[in-house]
Symmetry: C2
Subunit: 446 residues, 2 copies
């Protein structure tokens, strides 16, 4: 059973509910929407991401014979139902905001329209895929906003939550504007550019630091990035100055040095001076170690001479906000709108569309959430069709296009959100049509 | 390329360093150790987990022909080196604390002894696997400690960071004492017991709530757990009371009801009264929604009549501590001890052992970290051999044994740590032998 694509990668309740739907022949069309209920205090906006992985999952959804056998042997389900699961494929429609679109609370960013059992079964994995990439793309975009013109590289695989998290974090952060990732597999898998230098162990394994630098320069002559904080940062910078002319004679240029500990701004200034005085003005300074958008902003505010940053744990775990209050909810079944009223968790019923309005300066001004049929003049409709009857309507958008979209979207954000000032919140209006429908639904279901 | 087992699931710098080691024939034995530098303020102890997945990764480590081809075509490496990678297997030794062992900062919980390139290459994935399961097992153990006798179920797949995180969270929380998980695939994969009820969508898809309950009871007669907060919690509890006798005649017993919103303690009390007055004293109350060890402790302190809890996002993301300050560091190469001195990140050199001492009450009293050869009397040596020359020394320990170990370990924790009071910190002493070696190493490498 493949971990990523297994149809058993779901919550048990999806299957127990499906047995219930099967027993009663409840196979009419259901509409589910995915949305974030409430933005966290430190997120003034979010970025849609993960649609590509969801479409891929839906296209390939099926139970393998091993999985069916396991289900049958579990004793939890009827034989007829297990046979039915063997035939189940996703035959529904998908509407969504394109990856890279900026969105806010209460806005549906993905809608599934499919026979109820199909739309229900996919809930767990669909949330799992969308939630994580939204989380990372949104966190990464904050770093991109505070560090214009800097090289930003994802260093987070080791502390990401498992293999898939590491890989999807490389994709989502690149999508949001990072330059690339240290994670090798992200290159063949997604075409993410990869970056790599050396670890302290490389330096330690050599009898002295300068031998380690020299060996590395010979092994990677086109990519000489030297880690200089293993023993004494400034002493190592002077060794780099001493080594550079020797390498130059062999035609090898030192590209940059990396700092990974201590007061990064202070070390960067001292190292910059040592390099400049040693004639190495072209050598760049790269820094890593416990970085996030706040540390980046501070470093940049003090003009620390750092040209690029490797960002790990706090990016790949979105450490200040490691999960979002998101949901995938039934909004319509068998042609009738539905709504959950649970305290603090009520949802808006029906098939919805989000319209975005821009101000005279070209910046985003406000959004309107309304019903799909309630077409709004002059607004930009954000939710678009991506899959019809289980088939994609177009090939996957290249990551380079998604990156362009994010850059354009970030440029049109209200100015205070670009500066990571979350107040006042971006206005999201609920249309009268939608308010009226919610009331009507409440009157029907008690 | 398989996402979990690919040898390319690593950081680029591992490969660029390997090219350097290869060029100089640096293949002598290296010793790396994995440890946590500093416990987070809200973690008085941690639980070792993830060793099984690490051993599995090491046993199967190899580059496939696709991966070799990709490496060759990347233009970053020499042809000889790529050929060498094609022959590379893990042939080293692994020493570790058995999964389920409680540990503290500065204590090596895993040691790799292998030719330098092998020990280096595995760094990224090894940290990725150990870090996450330690994170989750340690978070889960806190919930187990505050909720003795309660049914605890992992509900976190949807907000876990990807597929592997969801699956390994199910394993790690079960190892730590949870009753099971909602994640279906965790059953065939790890033998984790699975639990499932229904979602709000199931209720909403029916024209009325009682029809939904009845349908579910017929579909899952041995597992009737009814979600009662879709519209009005207490009204739904009264519907359960009305339905119970009808189901009883068909031989179906309602097992429990689930609350998922609002003030859980208040609803639980009201629902308990309704159920009791309706003759349903045997029906259990199960609660979910934004739970963690603090909320559990409060609910239990006020005697809320809740019998079990489904815990999702805050467990699967370890939301208050989404990553640990852990490292995998070179401690010896070619027979000589090594040490990194980077500011705030210095490490203890050499091959180490941890000895644990217990008080007269049988509880853990203190640990001593020392060199492997510095055998301590009366202490319990925590680091044990698990792999020799690339082969496991024993078959995997069953999860049931690991659960027993955790239960025994938690019972022997100092009392304040059992109550999640993190102060005073558990004493971890560094032996004089180790202090002396660190000084000697510092004198050698400058």
């Amino acid at each position: 059973m493949d971990l990523q694509s297994s149809a058993l990668l779901t919550d048990l309740y999806e299957l127990t509910m499906l047995q219930g739907y099967f027993d009663r022949g409840m196979e009419e069309i259901a509409v589910f929407e995915f949305f974030v209920r409430k933005l966290p205090p430190t997120r003034g906006f979010l970025i849609a991401a993960g649609l590509e992985q969801v479409l891929n999952y839906l296209e390939n959804l099926h139970f393998t014979s091993d999985e069916l056998e396991w289900l049958a042997s579990s004793g939890r389900f009827s034989k007829d139902f297990v046979d039915y699961l063997g035939r189940l494929r996703f035959t529904g429609d998908v509407h969504a905001m394109p990856e890279g679109t900026i969105f806010f609370s209460d806005e549906p960013i993905l809608r599934i329209t499919a026979p109820l059992p199909q739309a229900q079964l996919v809930e767990s994995r669909l949330i799992n895929l969308l939630h994580f990439q939204i989380l990372i793309a949104s966190k990464a975009a904050r770093m991109v906003l505070v560090a214009p013109g800097k090289l930003l590289v994802d260093f987070g695989l080791r502390r990401a939550h498992g293999a898939e998290a590491g890989l999807l974090a490389a994709r989502a952060s690149y999508l949001a504007g990072f330059s690339g990732s240290a994670t090798v597999l992200a290159a063949p898998l997604f075409g993410v550019p990869i970056y790599g230098t050396m670890a302290h162990s490389f330096v330690q394994a050599h009898e002295d630091e300068i031998a380690a630098f020299e060996n590395f320069a010979h092994a990677q002559p086109d990519n000489v990035v030297l880690l200089i904080d293993t023993y004494d940062t400034e002493a190592a910078a002077r060794k780099v100055v001493a080594l550079a002319p020797r390498l130059k004679k062999e035609g090898i240029t030192i590209k940059s040095v990396r700092l990974d500990s201590g007061d990064l701004a202070d070390h960067a200034r001292k190292v910059r001076r040592i390099l400049d005085e040693g004639g190495l003005k072209e050598v760049r300074i790269f820094a890593s170690g416990s970085l996030d958008e706040y540390v980046l902003r501070d470093l940049i505010a003090t003009n620390a001479p750092i040209d690029g940053f490797g960002i790990g744990s706090r990016l790949d775990t979105s450490s200040d906000v490691p999960y979002l209050d998101c949901a995938y909810k039934l909004q319509e079944y068998a042609g009738r709108a539905r709504r959950k009223r649970s305290e603090g968790k009520a949802t808006w019923p029906g098939r919805k569309q989000v319209y975005r309005y821009y101000g005279p300066d070209g910046r985003m001004a406000y959004d309107v959430v309304t019903l799909e049929e309630d077409t709004q003049e002059n607004g930009k409709a954000l939710v678009q069709p991506f899959m019809k009857a289980g088939r994609r309507l177009a090939p996957p958008e290249p990551l380079s296009d998604l990156r362009k979209r994010v850059a354009e979207e970030l440029a049109r954000l209200p100015e205070h959100l670009q500066k990571l000032q979350e107040e006042p919140p971006y206005p999201v209006k609920i249309s009268k049509t939608l308010l009226d429908l919610a009331q009507a639904v409440d009157a029907r279901y008690r």
